[in-house]
Amino acid sequence: MHWVSNAIVVLLAAGAVWVARYAARDRFWRENAAQLWRRRRLAIVVVAVYVFIALLDSISWIDPASEANALTSGRPRTIIDRIFRPETFKEASYSAPLARVAFYGGQPLAHPGAHLLGTDLLGRDVVYRTLKGARVALLIGGLTSLVVIPIALLFGVSAGYWGRRIDDAVFFAMTVLASVPSLLLLIALIMVLGKGTVQVCVALGVTGWVHFCRIARGETLKLREADFVAAARALGVSDVGIIRRHILPNIAHLIIITFALSFTALVLSETILSYLGIGLEGSWGQMIDQARNELSRTPIIWWNLAGASIALFTLVLAVNVIADAMRDIIDPRTRREER
């Protein structure tokens, strides 16, 4: 399976290069991106760091060094695994951050002071688990949306552009899916499909699809009547050409903002799924869920909860801040209100 994740990294990198080159050619995108960078530099850097960590944790391979250890033999190890070398951890249980003395279970600690944020119940390093969680979070929020957006655009734009039967059908499907409270639909889908990364992502995609589709449809309906679309049609541009050249570029900014907002919603709702026992393996939600009973221990175990929740909070906050700034920059209506 590890080559799938490697291939996705390559695909994402290629996609990012293509998007950057496309955006650099267009004045609208170049100027808005520059303005966003000026206004929200810190938030962008924070998100970039998370993406970088997630990429480090997505590239994996098997080599002789992995074969040497019984715990890792035959298993691909990611770059994060190679940096932290979890197979060398010798703790069997909790160890406090930077602990110098044994305090739990009476066993002397094998690596006192070696763990920046201590270890969890099974002796796993908290920093390591937190960093691994970044990949899961971006998988839930980012990759799911990236797969779903093209499908939603296909349905939404064709419904808005051609109207009639297609619109009726897409609108009905949207109404039905939107009628089911999203969390309940999500739970039902996961219960039915089974637990697992792919299943959870499919479930998130099915529920998140409607949101993008509705915006694409609404905007296309408006743009269809615009003068420049009428002009293009009068010049004999084909329907597909109009959609590609005139409609898609004009709804792209809304899709990006919706993407950012749905990203935070997805990452936050995964914590609820984790609490219900149907979340993703290794997510921050799972760490928080496991840590919630540790607060009542004496001495109090706070580092598991702290590691996961600070990582989660920082990512969600940064994306929220960026989404907010993007909306300010791109949507002139809110700009007039806020300034």
Partner: protein
């Protein structure tokens, strides 16, 4: 108006049929009824027990087409799981739980009360707190107060709801010992003590998004001409905000709020399960953890039904409150 109402309700009913079909696909076609039965009675149950369980729980028919009947017999289509599913859901005959054979309708009936005692105060307090804070912030717009509250809203929006609950239980319940950590009592006087903490946590976790939304609504209203007129004729600031801005902003707020009202019945998933309130949210969590498909199915159906009703109510209240809305 009558024609509009009829069309709106008709489309709502069509949506309900669509939701039921979605549920059928998910819970009968994708999940094999055989698997549900096997999970319920155990892998090593005798075939008779297994068959009887399927009959008791209404899983014993073919999905779409009953081949036991001849091609011309209508029962070929009506004596199937699909037809049965529609018939039972539309008549609110929810049957028995897959997990423990108890009547789902009774459990729903028992759970609605505790859910409402949590969600109604939560909803009312949240709304009042949100409107008050948003009015305050809108009044001080473009000042440091406004900026500070907006930043605070953004910060509180970025925290997972699970963390609010954990922090609330730990800080207020365990360290400060102001309120009991969890529990419930049918006696309202005692229940109030149990409900204080979940209501507080729920209000705080939802406040950020509400205040941001309401603030934009208020600010949009404040730029209208009638506000200038009110000021010009000598209205005080407070009077302008409450008498003029708040009153006119109630229409967009109303449409946003009415849709939430039906959900008061389905309860709060996380809050109920964490704070030990035996409501419908806790029932759903139990159903998830116990692989209780029939209860879950019923909850999803009820949630969708209530949402559709809420939407229809919203559209009607919108049409009533704003005569400009086109009824076409």
């Amino acid at each position: 108006m009558a024609a509009y109402l009829l069309r709106r309700v008709g489309y709502g009913f069509l949506t309900v049929l669509g939701v039921l079909f979605l549920l059928f696909v998910l819970f009968f076609a994708v999940t094999n009824p055989d698997d549900i039965a096997r999970k319920a009675v155990g892998e090593r149950a005798r075939p008779e027990v297994y068959a009887q369980w399927k009959i008791n729980h209404g899983y014993d028919k073919p999905l779409f087409l009953n081949r036991d009947f001849a091609g011309s017999d209508a029962r070929r289509y009506t004596d199937t799981l699909l037809a049965e599913h529609y018939r039972r859901m539309l008549t609110f005959d929810f049957g028995r739980s897959d997990a423990d054979d108890s009547s789902i309708a009774k459990r729903l009936w028992d759970g609605a009360g505790p859910s409402l005692t949590l969600t109604v105060p939560l909803f009312a307090l949240g709304l009042v707190a949100g409107i008050a804070l948003a009015l305050f912030v809108a009044f001080f717009r473009e000042t440091y107060i406004d900026r500070a509250v907006l930043v605070l809203c953004m910060l509180t929006m970025s925290v997972a709801s699970l963390l609010y609950i954990i922090a609330g239980q730990y800080l207020i319940g365990m360290l400060l010992k102001w309120f009991p950590i969890s529990g419930f009592d049918p006696n309202p006087a005692i229940a109030a003590r149990f409900l204080a903490l979940p209501v507080l946590v729920g209000v705080i976790s939802g406040l950020g998004a509400d205040v941001r939304f309401l603030r934009t609504v208020f600010i949009e209203e404040m730029s209208r001409d009638y506000v200038r007129t009110a000021r010009a004729k000598g209205c005080g600031d407070a009077r302008v905000m409450v008498r003029h801005v708040l009153r006119n902003a109630l229409i967009p707020i109303l449409t946003n709020v009415v849709v939430q009202i039906p959900f008061l019945f389905t309860g709060a998933l996380l809050l109920e399960s964490f704070f030990g309130i035996p409501g419908l949210g806790a029932l759903t969590v139990e159903a998830i953890q116990g692989n209780d498909f029939s209860t879950l199915r019923t909850m999803v159906y009820l949630g969708a039904l209530l949402f559709i009703i809420g939407q229809i109510l919203t559209d009607i209240s919108y049409a009533l409150a704003d005569p400009r809305v086109r009824l076409s």
